[in-house]
């Protein structure tokens, strides 16, 4: 609902002090909202329940949108947002899985979350658990070698329970060209969407290929 989305936007204003990452946080907001509002299966009161979809904020940077969505969905009280980055806060400038209800992984150093998401996806297959794993990376993060190791690995292992969202807000120093095309070349089902268009995002995130991992490149034009 538009009203809820506006409320989440308002919640972001509770958090101050990390302005250098405003752009990063703002760029993920729409995707995170659609993911938590309409796509993922979870129980905010039992955030580690086995039968849940997993979300990994691989890029870690600018987690304000992530925190606002989690708070809005009831993982923790909205008042916590006002403690952002303070000494005793559960909410740091990069998420800590041992502090934030709903955070699956602690991230911050780039290029760690996607391979962790692959491990989770492989583990779920071993457990014969059909839940999905979503990982969110940034285009700048795509400069890390471990991201390309991961893209190669997930494609070759045909991890169909993994979806990687690439937020492309054009921060990469090297020209990445057509990111979706690159994922496709590594054996992924890959699409490109407008990162502000909720229906496009929803359609892309609900698609699950039978034999391939999925990449959704969300374009955020400045």
């Amino acid at each position: 609902m538009t009203g809820d989305f506006e409320q989440v936007k308002h919640l972001i204003t509770y958090m101050t002090g990390d302005e250098k990452h405003d752009e990063s946080s703002n760029s993920t907001l729409d995707v995170l909202w659609v993911l938590y509002d309409r796509v993922m299966r979870y129980d905010p009161k039992n955030p580690r329940m086995e039968q849940r979809d997993r979300f990994v904020l691989s890029k870690g940077h600018g987690p304000e949108a992530f925190y606002a969505v989690l708070a809005h969905k009831g993982f923790f009280p909205k008042e916590e947002l006002k403690t952002f980055m303070q000494w005793d806060s559960i909410l740091g400038a990069h998420p800590d899985r041992n502090k934030v209800p709903g955070a699956e992984t602690s991230t911050g150093s780039l290029g760690h979350g996607l391979p962790m998401a692959i491990g989770m996806a492989m583990a779920l297959q071993l457990k014969e658990n059909d839940r999905r794993v979503f990982a969110l990376i940034g285009d700048g993060e795509c400069n890390e070698g471990s991201i390309w190791e991961s893209i190669l690995l997930a494609g070759s292992r045909k991890l169909n329970n993994l979806t990687t969202i690439v937020i492309n807000n054009f921060t990469s120093a090297p020209d990445l060209g057509d990111i979706a095309e690159k994922f496709a070349a590594f054996g992924w089902h890959a699409t490109t969407v407008n990162g502000r268009d909720h229906e496009q995002i929803y359609a892309a995130l609900t698609y699950q290929d039978e034999a391939r991992p999925t990449a959704v490149v969300a374009l955020i034009h400045k």
Binding site: N98, H112, M116, G119, M120, M122, A123, L153
Partner: protein, 295 residues
């Protein structure tokens, strides 16, 4: 059977009994594992030559309740993906088991890129990281079985160099091998055999250390009242000095560190030639201890 072969046997055996165990490989040792048992084969996974991803994928398995065992040569398991070990396992408070092979200059002819004398010092900087240096294949089996499911992060340093005999070992314990008055000599892992040869006829205590972290300071304190401490290690010298200082805070002590020196070691040849060059032979160790005690 060397330590690496024992590792394969131990892991295959434990994987049959414990469905939580997952072995993740980056090509190294993949061909040594049997793929006959499909039940185990699903949990012995060769990811390919991507060590950073190896560690992070392991953390993903740990997040899902598995016990991941990650393995490669020492420099590629420890030094290349060190940040992944630190962030994904230590900072996230997950448990993983890291088993290296090719210790120090075991693979001497391969050159320095394949040497790993810095592994123990580096892993020992990580909070809560357990460090195990077995002296024989059988000791690895005992120590791994005792610790693989303990919920901690543990580094196991396997080597081609081994003691000519097995010793009784317990995870987390120093073993008192002999007692004397002039010094306490702590021999780590595969250095025990040559250390015992070095101190023959000398009036010293010899302690055998296979678990470096957590360090058994209590046994060190109780076994010897001497102020002369000699540490004999198979990797860069001095990794245990901090632990010894903490354990013996109430005493004035002198410490001699005998191990691989912090030098660029750009020779090839046999590991034994490196030992001889660096004085890590029974004669060289004896000479260092004698000089230390004369000072």
């Amino acid at each position: 059977m060397n330590m690496r072969q024992q590792m394969v046997k131990t892991l295959e055996d434990l994987a049959k009994q414990d469905e939580r165990l997952v072995v993740l490989l980056a090509a190294i040792s993949n061909s040594l594992f049997s793929k006959d048992n499909p039940h185990i084969a699903r949990r012995v996974i060769n990811l390919g030559i991507m060590e950073q991803t190896l560690i992070s994928v392991g953390a993903g398995f740990a997040l899902e309740g598995f016990i991941p065992v990650m393995h490669s040569f020492a420099p590629f398991l420890v030094e290349r993906p060190f940040e992944q070990i630190k962030d994904d396992f230590v900072y996230q408070q997950l448990s993983g088991k890291f088993i290296s092979t090719g210790a120090s200059y075991d693979y001497s002819v391969e050159g320095m890129t394949h040497h790993g004398p810095g592994d123990v010092a580096l892993m020992h900087t990580l909070p809560g990281m357990q460090v195990v240096v077995p002296g024989t294949a059988q000791e690895f089996d005992i120590l791994f079985r005792a610790s693989y499911a303990n919920g901690a992060n543990t580094y196991y340093r396997l080597s081609e160099s081994a003691n000519p005999f097995n010793s009784p070992v317990r995870f987390g314990k120093l073993e008192v091998v002999k007692q004397g008055n002039e010094a306490a000599v702590i021999a780590v892992g595969p250095m025990l055999g040559r250390t015992l040869a070095a101190v023959e006829g000398m009036d010293v205590t010899v302690l055998y250390c296979t678990t470096l972290a957590p360090f058994d300071g209590e046994t060190l304190r109780a076994a010897s009242a001497s102020s002369n401490i000699v540490l004999v290690e198979p990797y860069y010298e001095g990794a245990l000095v901090r632990d010894i200082c903490h354990a013996l805070q109430s005493r004035l002590i002198r410490v001699e560190t005998i191990g691989v020196p912090y030098r660029v070691l750009n020779h090839y040849g046999e590991p034994e030639e490196h030992d001889a060059h660096l004085g890590l032979t029974p004669e060289g160790i004896r000479s260092r201890i004698e000089r230390f005690l004369e000072q």
